[in-house]
Structure formats: C-alpha cells, structure tokens
Amino acid sequence: MSETTFLDSTELVLNMGPQHPSTHGVLRVILKLDGEKVLGTDCVIGYLHRGVEKIGENRTYAQFNPYVDRMDYVAAISNGLGYCLAVEKLLSVEVPARAQCVRVILTELNRIASHLLWLGTHALDIGAITPVFYCLREREEALKIFEKYCGARLTTHAFRIGGLQYETYDGFEQDIRDFNKWFLPKVDEYEELLTNNRIWVGRLKGVGILSGDECKEYGVTGPVLRAAGVKWDIRKALPYSGYEKYEFDIPIRENGDTYDRYIVRMQEMRQSVRIMAQAVEAIPEGPIMGKVGKVIKPAVGEAYVSIEAPKGELGYYVVSDGSTQPYRLRVRPPSFVNLQALDRMVAGGLIADVVAIIGTLDIVLGEVDR
C-alpha cells in the first residue's frame, strides 16, 4: 500500500447474505459501506424462485388454487382471495353473500395473523426478544381457527373459485367473537411493551423515511404508503367481496418513518377486529358456492384484479384463451415492488437501520420471488 494515512477510509462492500436471521427469508443485500454508514445497497433476489407463473400456465384454474397460498406463505388466505376474485371476474360469476361474508372474516383474521408475525419478527430484529413469543401465541389462536375451518394452518386453500368449499363449522361465530374479545387487550399489551419504550422509539423514529410522493413514484403500497400520509386502501377505493358494507377507518400517519409504519399496522389490527366483529354478527344464510360448472373455462379475455393484502396491493392479471388452463397468470407481488424502495430508504443510514427497514417493509420472500 502506498502513502495512505491511518484514518483513510475506502468503500467497503459487505454482503448481507441469503442466510441471515434478519433478512426475513433468503434475501441477499450487498451493502456499500463507508464505515458504518451505508452508501448504497443492491438487492439480489431469486433464491426462492419457484416459477409459479409458469406453473400457472400448466394447471387448470382449480388446480392452481393450492399453489397460490405458497407465495405469501405468512398470509395465505389473502392470496387465495385475490386469485379467486380474479378468476371469478373472468367467469363473471357472482359469489353468494354468505360466502362473501365468511371470506371477509377469514381475510381479516389472516391480516391480523400476518401483522402479528410482522410485529414479532420486526421486534426481534430490533432486539426486543419478548414480543415474538406473545405474537406467536396470539397467532396460534388465529391458526387454530383456520385449522378448524379448512384443515390446514398455514397453506390454507380456504376458498374455491365461485365461493367456499366448506361450510362454517359449528361454533365458528362463537370462536370469532371469543377471539375478538380476547385479542384487543393483547394489542394493548404490545403497545405497553413497545410504543413508548425509549429504545424502540430511538431505533425507529426518523429511520427509513419515504414520503408520500416517493411512495407513489416507487409504486409502494400498503401500510408503507399509509404511514406516509396517503389515505388509500383498496378496500375503500375499489371495494371487493362486500367490504363496502362494513365500517372501518384507515389509519394514516404523516412522517413516513419506521415508527409510523409500526403505529399504522397496530391500528390496522384493531380495525380488523372491528370489521370481524361487524361481519360475524351479520353472516347471511344461503348457499356458499356460486354457479360454477365442474370444468372452469372462462371466455377469451383478460382481467386484472387486486386486493389489499396485508403487505400492499396484491394483483392478479389473468389472461384466458378459452381453455381450461390460464394462458398467462401474472401475480403482482406487493413485497417485490416495495423492496425496490429499499435503496432509497436506506440511503445515509447505518447498518442497523438496514435491518430495521427490511423489517418494516414487511416482505415475504415467497412473494418477492414467486
């Protein structure tokens, strides 16, 4: 080495490899560092790529349903809902009211389960080890309800094209009511643990700021967008599956930093409980399956349907050529598009902030890579 002074620094390239406890899956982030400050990031993804879109072209519509749960494996029911809605739109079949109501209840329960896992792992990344136990304990109750309803906890395959396969089990309504009553104090407990905690606030406030306009530029949706001040939720803007019947608020905050996203997701959990409480009182009687033939063959055409998944806007673009298999099935994953904004959010922060920001974006690699 030539005449370098003792404190001369050069850019260091550090690999936050695919095997890392804080990257929420197999995500590889190549960091360019100046000391501990991050100058730039480069995400390498694709470690979990399973070719779901290609599989979609080789299975019939009903056969593809179980594969859809495996993309965002944390919140499998939302994926199923989006797919079923897209195919039902192509078929122009109407889903009966009872099926829509039960779908809403399960989807909101699924939203709570997803946010609980987010909170547990995010807190664990930051260093708070206790919330993960409590969140997973609460999540158990939600998964028990899924298991009683459709037979599986995680890859639920709960919905079918045209409605539901399973009638609600005896005690479903009571279970949901018990869950609501039991769960709200738990959210208070998490807030007690974290919201005013000086370590939590110190780690999260002012970190990873993404303003509303930047969010729109990068196409970021979901709680990240709402924490930046844009009041937009697909459940209110383009309602589906009967959401217009329920009264709920959309939590928004102005700063767009990590702390705000935490507050938004906590509020969303409370709003989900509110929706479930309304829906469970008003489940109509009737059939659970619409008029769908044994063989699903939509007319030639295409449709794009999106729903508000816990992570953002999950969209399905289905192109049909009139046969029993989709011609092209594109999934627009919220985590993939949100992850793009990582570079902008991290700029100028420290490595510890990178961990916090990956956590706050709430990505699931199954969805990023498909």
Binding site: Q63, Y134, R137, K148, Y169, E189, E192, R198, I199
Partner: protein
C-alpha cells in the same frame, strides 16, 4: 415530570412489568409433544386413507379416477379392471405418492363416494423415499408410526 419519567426509566419498567406478569404458570403454552399428542381439528388435512365399507369389508372406491384428475401434482395412479359379472369397474391398485403431495385436499373434494379421505394423521415419516409412495394396502391401513415410551 417527563424528565423524572426519563431518569427513572418509567417506560422501561412498564414493559418489564408486562413481561413479569406473563411469567405466571397459567400462561405456559408449550405442548410437550411426544408425551401429549396435539388434538388436531376434525377437518385436518393429514395422511390420506382409502375407506372400506364397514359391513362387507370391501373398498368404497369405484375407480372413477376423478381424484387423479383433480390432483395438481398428478401423483395418484388408479388402475382398475372390469368385472364381467357385475359389469362394473373394480379397483386393483391405487398408488399415492405422499412425498410430492401438498395436502391441498382437492382429491378429497373430488371423490364422489367419500372413499379417499385426508385423515388427522400427521406422523408419516419413513426412512426411505420409496416408503413415501403408498400402495393400496398402506392407504387402507394408515401409517403406523413407532410409539416411543416417554
């Protein structure tokens, strides 16, 4: 006031109190697995089983092949032969590859006579990959996991 709160770590103690409260034994959630087997739901999608008619001991399967057509992974192979006496198809072999199965339940939904059912068994481990391909006999009897005494 807020300075006092800051100095005396009030918010941290608040969190610690939550943790302390949860130490009560009534909150223990761990299931001691091999000793107490979890009670899974009635609709649980576990190991497949071919049901037998309890009265005459014959299989309920009518070899219609609908389960094989419904399976996304095409892992069910059903063979049958035609019985000249009753003019109906009779099941000869039924192969189910549990190593590729994703337990989605489409085969169970498709079966018109409720012969193929996904039971509440989840202990299906084997020592070989070939052991995961179940033939008709294993499907009718179900997996037999080794019971260890704890």
């Amino acid at each position: 006031m807020s300075l006092l709160k800051k100095v005396f770590l009030v918010d941290l103690f608040q969190g610690l109190w939550v943790t302390f409260r949860n130490q009560h034994p009534k909150y223990i959630y761990t299931e001691q697995y091999p000793a107490e087997r979890p009670k899974v739901a009635e609709r649980y999608r576990g190991a497949p089983r071919l049901n037998i008619n309890p009265d005459n001991g014959e299989t309920l399967c009518i070899a219609c092949n609908l389960c094989a057509l419904a399976c996304p992974e095409t892992l069910i192979v059903v063979t049958s032969e035609r019985n000249e006496a009753t003019k109906r198809k009779e099941l000869t072999t039924f192969t189910y590859d549990t190593s590729r199965c994703m337990f989605c339940g489409l085969c169970e939904d498709a079966c018109p006579v409720d012969a193929l059912e996904l039971t509440q068994d989840f202990e299906m481990a084997t020592y070989t990959r070939e052991g995961q391909i179940w033939d008709r006999q294993t499907l009718e009897e179900g997996p037999k996991p080794t019971q260890y005494k704890c």
